[in-house]
Symmetry: C2
Subunit: 270 residues, 2 copies
């Protein structure tokens, strides 16, 4: 999102905000650096304190600075990046046929977060719900049919903030032969692909990821400890088995300031 | 991003905003519906006009409603969705060996936007720049080496707003044998994959997509005609040829309210 000229003269607060943004992009202001005070900005630009305040507020909404409530604004530090890669789909599949020891040593959360699972609080809940129109269409089942719904959360026990959150849906008739496999409150070694195989002999043939982004609600932003102006990336993962059935739909949220998604598309060779 | 309970009682403006958000999610308020006035909200919740105003402002920042500047706020309409799919990488590759007629009938923008290219204003610019540290690392070339930089824009001639924007980088020594292939100001039939093949016999083996999201700057939001509270999705496309070289790096921006990205990962079968 690079600067390009506008046809109309921009209001003062936009000119100030864009100037500061460009200083950040050029590296003249680096993470943690304090911004000029409102009085300094007003003097520098010959503008009102209100214009300076609006510029600072804009930069906050754009996620470029932090501070407020009496604290001087500073350039935001980019926290560690969670790279979520499409390669993990195959890694998880390869683990399905591995022993439990090997599966247990390859936690997906550890790959994503770079934090040992033991340092985080894991919570899993499960319930059986009725398919709404969206799920019924996704699975090709009747609306109202039973669906297993599981919610997974990883939280930092110190801050209480979420580190990972996802919800998984599976048609209940796929799990009904061995529901206990899905009802654990601990991470299952090898993940859902292994559970589907162990419960119903299901082998996945393809995984589709759908990516969208939106601003989080206030409550969601608080639960994650997200700064203002940071969007949430949502990934819907659709798992398709060797018979062409959609066997799981999963939604995961990722705060955009700590996430990079990586998808690899091999091409047929000539 | 579904509602979950918070441990602390939320301030009035958050409770009002979350209540309205849930009405939107449940479909009780649909796109175009007007919101209650500030006086109605204040009476309903027994709160100050300021709290009601803050709630409306929050919903605007979260991209759920539009309005302002004297216009009553309404629930935001979801415009048409641009689905960008990883399948297009293979489609483009298949077109490389096709004739110009067939290539010309398969514009990528037409697939993405559902709008004939003829109805939009296409602009392409090109220049030779020096690789910065980021590009040098990405291509595995020396910093300062020549890189072809092209910027592509599609705009709606009526509104003047951007419909598509991307920037492409290619090491100059790959294009130097036939630079004229890359210097057209019109869309090249078949896209960059065909250009690379025609100029240097390059065949792609893999494309990696990296996805991030951030709030747009004020200028960028104006250029796209984006509502407040809508994030921008950025996709970096990295093209790798059959010799393992990175031959193109391209960044494209997509307003999140009209975009869904779709990636498909086939799995090795047992």
């Amino acid at each position: 999102m690079e600067p390009r000229p506008t046809a109309v003269a921009a209001p003062m607060q936009l000119r100030i905000a864009d100037d500061i943004r460009m200083q950040i992009e050029r590296g003249e202001l680096t993470p943690g650096d304090p911004l000029p005070t409102l009085h300094e900005l007003a003097a520098q630009w010959g503008c009102s304190l209100n214009s300076a305040r609006s510029a600072i507020s804009l930069l906050k909404q754009q996620g470029l600075i932090t501070g407020g409530r009496g604290k001087a604004p500073v350039v935001r530090t980019q926290p560690r990046q969670v790279v979520r890669s499409s390669n993990r789909h195959q890694v998880e599949k390869d683990l399905v046929l591995a022993g439990e020891d090997e599966r247990g040593q390859n936690g997906v959360a550890e790959n994503d977060l770079g934090v040992p699972l033991d340092d985080l609080k894991f919570t899993a809940t499960h319930e059986v719900i009725s398919a709404d129109a969206d799920l019924a269409e996704g699975f090709g089942i009747e609306p109202g049919a039973d669906v297993l719904r599981r919610v997974f959360e990883l939280a930092d026990p110190k801050s209480g903030h979420l580190e990972a959150w996802s919800v998984s849906y599976i048609p209940y008739d796929l799990v009904s032969a061995a529901p206990e496999i899905f009802e654990s409150t601990k991470p299952h070694p090898g993940g859902t692909q292994h559970q589907l195989y162990a419960a119903a002999g299901i082998e996945l043939a393809r995984i589709d990821d759908e990516v969208t982004s939106a601003m989080p609600t206030t409550v969601t932003a608080q639960q994650w400890g997200m700064d203002p102006g940071i969007p949430m990336i949502r990934v819907r993962r659709i798992s398709i088995d060797t018979q062409g059935r959609t066997v799981e739909i999963s939604d995961a949220d990722f705060p955009a300031d700590r996430t990079k998604l990586h998808f690899s598309t091999p091409l047929t060779l000539w």
